[in-house]
C-alpha cells in the first residue's frame, strides 16, 4: 500500500519549469528551520515525518512551505516548545497588527 506523499512514478501531468520568486514568509520559514536545526530542536527527519502526516486532501492544497510550517508547528507543539495557547494568542496579535490579508 502506497502512502499519499510517496508519489514517485505516479501520473502527475506536465512539469511546470518556470522560475519563481519566494515570498518573504517562505524565506522566513526556511530560516526558522535552519535555526531550529542548529539548536537541535527539530531534525530534518522529524520535519519530513510531520509533512508525511498531513492528510492527503490538505497536502495537495498546500504549497511547499505551507507543509514545512505545518510540520514545524506540530513538532514544536509535540515537544512542548510552544503551546497551542501561546500560538493562538500570538497569531491573533499578528493578525491584528497586519490585517487578515497580510502574510
Amino acid at each position: 500500500m502506497r502512502r499519499h506523499h510517496d508519489m514517485g512514478g505516479e501520473a502527475a501531468g506536465p512539469v511546470n519549469r518556470s522560475e519563481h520568486e519566494y515570498a518573504f514568509w517562505e524565506k522566513r520559514v526556511d530560516a526558522l528551520l535552519v535555526l531550529l536545526a542548529k539548536k537541535k530542536l527539530v531534525r530534518v527527519d522529524e520535519l519530513r515525518r510531520g509533512i508525511e502526516q498531513i492528510g492527503p486532501d490538505v497536502y495537495d492544497k498546500m504549497g511547499y512551505y505551507d507543509r514545512w510550517i505545518t510540520s514545524i508547528t506540530n513538532n514544536l507543539l509535540e515537544k512542548g516548545i510552544i503551546t497551542s495557547e501561546e500560538l493562538g494568542r500570538r497569531m491573533a496579535e499578528v493578525e491584528a497588527r497586519h490585517g487578515k490579508e497580510d502574510e
Partner: protein, 98 residues
C-alpha cells in the same frame, strides 16, 4: 553494525508496508537490484523522525536497478538504470538465479 552485503551482491527490496517515516520509496519495493557501493553507516532515520537517537547506526547502500525492471512501461534504452540509497534493513539477499 557490520555491512551484510558487498558491491555486486544481488538483493531484493522488502515489500513491507510501513507506517511512520521511511526512506524507501514505494515504487522500488519488491524490486531486485545490485549493490553498487556501501555508503557507510548512519543513524536510522525511521527513529530520528520521532525524536529518538536512531542507534545503532545502520549500513546504507547505493543499489542499482534496471529501469525496465522498475517501470513496466519504460520506453528508454534497456541499459538505463536508477540508483537508490537504501538501508540494510530494507534489503534481503536475492535467492533467485537467472
Amino acid at each position: 553494525m557490520k555491512a551484510r552485503f558487498r558491491p555486486g551482491d544481488s538483493v531484493t527490496v522488502r515489500s513491507a508496508y510501513s507506517l511512520g517515516h521511511v526512506r524507501t520509496p514505494h515504487y522500488i519495493k519488491g524490486k531486485r537490484g545490485i549493490i553498487e557501493r556501501v555508503c557507510g553507516e548512519f543513524a536510522n532515520p525511521e527513529e530520528l523522525a520521532y525524536g529518538r537517537r536512531g542507534l545503532p547506526k545502520r549500513p546504507l547502500y547505493r543499489v542499482r536497478f534496471e529501469q525496465e525492471q522498475v517501470w513496466p512501461d519504460y520506453i528508454g534504452p534497456p541499459s538505463d538504470t536508477v540508483d537508490i540509497e537504501l538501508y540494510e534493513h530494507w534489503l534481503e539477499p536475492d535467492t533467485k538465479k537467472d
